[in-house]
Symmetry: C2
Subunit: 209 residues, 2 copies
């Protein structure tokens, strides 16, 4: 394992930022895949502002820490959903983040890019998002390009719910390595489309799907 | 909308069966996509045995009804995860289901196929599952084939987490029609891989991802 700056690391913390009115798949796909890395010191947490946050369909996720803790994480990923449109309008919310792409991997799925932009982290960069968030994202001076994953140094944006797999793969590749990233991504593919009955799932970080 | 037998319907109930130690993605991908159908009378519920069930990673979902209510649903889908291995060993659990493929669509994602098999619903049929569940499924006399979705009349099995999209698509296609199924599936694809910035997401059943 290594830090975003390329230094060897004994532990790595990955924060996924949640809020009310998040999109279920977008948050859970990233959460599930990042939790398939079973290495000592690998730590994935959901950050928010309350004990639980509620999705657009009425499900909820537990919050493991406050959003202000994101500044200490090695990687910070913003989830998506209708809730992003409210959060980008709240200066007090945004002021709680002190993120730095020189020492952190920063990323988003779908409209999570609006939060990265509102925090000034996409200034002069290319990015991707969900179609319904494109115009708002462009309003921040971001060049929005039609790709599933756009990587700009230590900042990556993913567009389209199932592109969450590419975002999770990028984080794992950067912090752990290509071998584990490939194994995790393989483990979630449809049978016959990347996963086969010959895949030794016992040998990769997920066993019992 | 129409029933599994092809009769016009004013309302349709879709049940997703949950239990402890479920796999997050497998359950939530199906749940999220089925909830993108915004039609009056379309009703998606999670069935289980307690107020909440806990996933393999420690998240949880609320339970909207008891598993014994599955016999009244128009479609019943079994989720997956380590929990299936426990449930197939519990005769009292299995005895609560009275499913009938003549009047219901029945389906599974990954190791959820073990529950369909334990209920005698895959007898003499072809099916697919997660690689680590293949041998156990074959032990029920099922022909396991390396495909992402296997449809046998009103019974469908999906293999590999992201094949949940095909299972959800099958249910929507059968009960609502191809147009809505295609719109829902398009709405979750990665940008540039099925979803484009020209896709009119406002016109399909999801708006704010």
């Amino acid at each position: 394992m290594q830090t975003p700056a390329g230094q060897p690391a004994d532990s790595l913390s990955i924060a996924i930022v949640a809020f009310d009115d998040y999109t279920d798949i977008d948050l859970i796909l990233i959460w599930d895949l990042l939790n398939r890395v079973h290495l000592p010191g690998w730590n994935v947490r959901l950050l928010g502002e309350r004990q639980f946050h509620r999705s657009m369909t009425g499900l909820s996720v537990p919050v493991h820490g406050h959003v202000s803790e994101a500044s200490q994480a090695d990687a910070v990923l913003f989830s998506s959903g209708k809730g992003t449109r409210a959060k980008i309008q709240e200066p007090d919310y945004l002021a709680q983040f002190a993120l730095d792409p020189r020492r952190q991997l920063l990323g988003s799925i779908c409209s999570g890019a609006l939060l990265l932009a509102a925090l000034g982290l996409l200034q002069g960069k290319r990015a991707t998002t969900f179609p319904s968030a494109k115009a708002t994202l462009e309003g921040y001076g971001v060049e929005v390009v039609p790709q599933p994953l756009v990587i700009e140094g230590n900042v990556a944006t993913a567009g389209g719910c199932l592109a969450g797999q590419y975002l999770a793969g990028w984080v794992i590749r950067r912090l752990v390595g290509e071998h584990v990233a490939a194994a995790v991504l393989t483990s979630c593919q449809p049978v016959g489309e990347g996963l086969s009955f010959d895949t030794e799932v016992e040998a990769i970080p997920v066993v019992n799907s």
